[in-house]
């Protein structure tokens, strides 16, 4: 991939294209925009391929982080400044790229997350999904759900703490 081999890009897309597309589509809710942003996501990697160390950096999580930023950027551009979430630029920094846990594939991590999310109380799960996919800040969530912002802050923190524990323990059941 470092030699910018088109076949390697094709393999990367075949492996990660589907979850990247699904995440972006869920966030922007527009097929054409999603296709543009998926292409942009993979091209971002293509243009930086030489500086990635695949031993230290798991490409799946990195691509999803880039995808999330691209989608978030688009949503912010549609909604105007002030109301949305902030783009996390550090998430795209190859130096901070997350390696996978030893002996745990990204697919297993994704499965853990899915199971942990399903175990959360309904309000906490809803708060997580509104943050992840609807790009809502706690204040915007509170307005949407008719709850105090502090309550949404608490739900979010509790949900993320529980998710973190489940991911670290590797036990989601």
């Amino acid at each position: 991939m470092k030699r910018r081999d088109g076949r390697a890009l094709a393999q990367l897309y075949d492996r990660h294209g589907r979850p990247v597309y699904a995440l972006i589509l869920r966030m922007v809710r527009n097929h054409e925009v999603a296709e543009d942003l998926v292409q942009e996501t993979f091209l971002r990697f293509w243009n930086r391929a030489q500086i990635f160390d695949e031993q230290k950096c798991a490409l799946g999580p990195w691509l999803l982080a880039v995808a999330r930023n691209r989608a978030l950027d688009y949503v912010r551009s549609q909604e105007g400044p002030g109301g949305g979430l902030a783009v996390c630029e550090e998430a795209e920094d190859p130096r901070l790229c997350a390696a996978l846990e030893a002996g745990v594939s990204f697919a297993e991590q994704a499965q853990r997350a899915k199971q942990a999310l399903a175990r959360l109380p309904e309000d906490q799960r809803q708060a997580i999904e509104l943050a992840c996919f609807d790009c809502l800040s706690p204040t915007a969530m509170a307005a949407k759900l008719g709850k105090p912002p502090g309550t949404l802050q608490t739900w979010l923190r509790s949900a993320l703490t529980e998710m973190r524990r489940a991911m670290e323990a590797g036990v989601a059941e």
Binding site: G6, Y13, L23
Partner: protein
């Protein structure tokens, strides 16, 4: 703020939800390469990425792959419907040829097996006829070639109602295009054809001619080499002549 104080903020930061002053604090820690914050942030990125995979599954259109690869100068071959139809037609044609070949093969095999079965049935019928002639009362047994080494030798059995049977040895296989023909030689009149047969590669032969035979009017049983179609009258000198005795067995 200390790293410990920021510990609960990494996921919120990765999601873009961190508020001030935590947001600026984390950014400052990462900028100065704080090892603890980098470690915590990486774990947060893993969690956020895993959360991203819980979005409802959706398959990107196939054109997106082509578009992506084309954008980096890797044109992907796109065959389209005409080629797909041609490929399908070719597949169908190949299947038809293959299965017709198999059908022909099965038909040939079936024919061969039926032929084998017919041969076995004929052999069984011939054995039954031979057994009947051998065991029936009134059958006359005649030996031939007994004192002539290297000449065909054997026995003839003839029954008035069941027919005649020849068992021979030292009867060499007939040349290509030729066959052996058995004759019933009457005391008066022309020889009567009594069936065609071949000897085996070891020189043995058995031939049965079923049907009534006028033993008293028969002079001998003979065998000649004939064209494979046989002949109404002997065309060559007999290979075997087995004269019948005057008296029955």
């Amino acid at each position: 703020m200390s790293c410990e104080e920021l510990r609960e903020q990494y996921e919120l930061y990765a999601l873009g939800l961190a508020e001030e002053p935590e947001r600026s604090e984390i950014r400052a820690h990462l900028d100065r390469r704080c090892a603890a914050c980098e470690r915590g942030f990486r774990q947060a990125l893993r969690l956020v990425a895993a959360l991203g995979t819980t979005a409802q599954a959706a398959a990107p259109p196939s054109r997106l792959r082509r578009r992506l690869l084309a954008s980096v100068g890797v044109p992907e071959r796109h065959y389209g419907w005409p080629v797909a139809w041609a490929a399908a037609a070719l597949l169908f044609l190949s299947a038809a040829v293959y299965f017709s070949g198999r059908e022909r093969q099965y038909a040939e095999e079936s024919l061969r097996l039926r032929g084998q079965l017919g041969d076995q049935a004929a052999e069984l019928r011939r054995s039954q006829e031979a057994r009947a002639i051998l065991s029936a009362p009134g059958t006359i047994e005649v030996a031939f070639g007994q004192d002539q080494p290297a000449q065909p030798a054997g026995r003839v059995f003839i029954n008035p109602t069941l027919g005649a049977m020849l068992i021979a040895s030292h009867l060499p296989p007939a040349p290509a295009g030729m066959t052996y023909e058995m004759w019933i030689i009457p005391k008066r009149g022309a020889p009567r054809p009594a069936g065609l047969f071949q000897s085996r590669s070891d020189g043995t032969a058995m031939h049965v001619e079923p049907g009534a035979a006028d033993v008293a009017a028969t002079e001998a049983i003979a065998v000649t080499l004939q064209d494979e179609a046989g002949a109404p009258q002997p065309a060559t000198e007999p290979s075997i002549v087995a004269p019948l005795p005057v008296a029955g067995r």
